[in-house]
Symmetry: C2
Subunit: 208 residues, 2 copies
């Protein structure tokens, strides 16, 4: 799969795929799905890369599903297996806002979203922010005057990395489906909250 | 100063300059330097941007010092003030390994290195890693088989972001000069150690 991933983008590299693969296997029993299908699904779930700042962002799941279908069929999976996996991939994207429509989809959403929170989620968020940053519209770690959006300003996670925590990351733990994912999600959520607290203290100490 | 910073690079943006400025002011009394000179020094300390993966990396301090001299002279600073600031900027770079040779240099090293550890140091490290990542040599958050360099492998912080914690960040707190910087450095060091512990647990849970 690796040659089809965006070269040089750290948030969706082979390690992300490997971590989601591991969690998909782990969650397969609880989710009542075949571990082989869960693993295959993880390997193909991000085949289409659509940058976070693309107007087509919400189509990543659909495009990955289309590519996944071809790859899985070539790998010898049966038509009903391919259909179940591609449906799970199609409905997995956060930005599209779908609920999973089959058991594989439940496993994929949980595995993929676990990798979006906690320490790993933070690393991936910052890498995405730098990847999106352009001379004509430079990104920032945080908003100039209200880093933690304390004052109800609109969030803009294409402009500020920390905004992404409030726009998405801190909402993910509450939406986990399976018990093991809920428990791990709660741990990672707490780690992210801790990190934001540390950052808040550091920023407060860095004001003239 | 902002137009002279690398456009789109998050680790050395106007917020970095503003944070170092605030800490240079705060440390000026303890460091026995004029706060106006300390502030001016912070504003010009990163005028020359040399990417972390450039063979000229170690020359960033010297080049910034040269540019700073011209800017400060044009701003009306006296020759001896310009000389003291540019000497501090010249000797501030970690990669060059200089010790400060005057009181301003002590303040700048502490202020600049505080911004390199803790939560902020982590954000900046990850942004640098993504900024350096190229299709022909994609960066990673961590080494494939030994993320925390537990087994004595050589560190390569141009290839792996987390390696930068061990190659540089975790060494900075011990080298702080002024008492307030030592105390803040110890807090930020501890925060970074905590983060690495959380990441270690997450990675252990993400292995098939």
């Amino acid at each position: 799969m690796e040659p089809q991933l965006p070269p040089g983008e750290l948030a969706h590299d082979r390690h992300h795929i490997a971590r989601v693969y591991a969690w998909a296997l782990r969650l397969s029993t609880e989710g009542g799905v075949d571990p082989d299908l869960a693993g295959a699904m993880a390997l193909v779930h991000d085949l289409a890369f659509v940058p976070k700042d693309s107007p087509d962002r919400a189509l990543g799941g659909e495009r990955s599903a289309r590519l996944a279908g071809a790859v899985l069929t070539a790998a010898g999976y049966a038509a009903d297996e391919v259909a179940a996996i591609t449906e799970a991939v199609r409905t997995s994207s956060w930005s599209r806002g779908f609920a999973p429509t089959n058991a594989l989809g439940v496993v994929l959403q949980d595995a993929d979203r676990l990798d979006a929170i906690g320490a790993l989620g933070l690393l991936r968020t910052v890498a995405c922010a730098q990847f999106m940053s352009r001379p004509e519209r430079p990104g920032r770690f945080y908003h100039d005057s209200d880093p933690f959006a304390d004052n109800g300003r609109p969030l803009d996670d294409k402009a500020q990395a920390i905004d992404h925590c409030y726009a998405k990351l801190l909402k993910l733990a509450a939406g986990m489906h399976l018990p093991t994912a809920k428990a791990e999600g709660a741990r990672r959520h707490a780690a992210l909250v801790d990190f934001l607290g540390v950052l808040r203290r550091e920023l407060a100490s860095s004001q003239a």
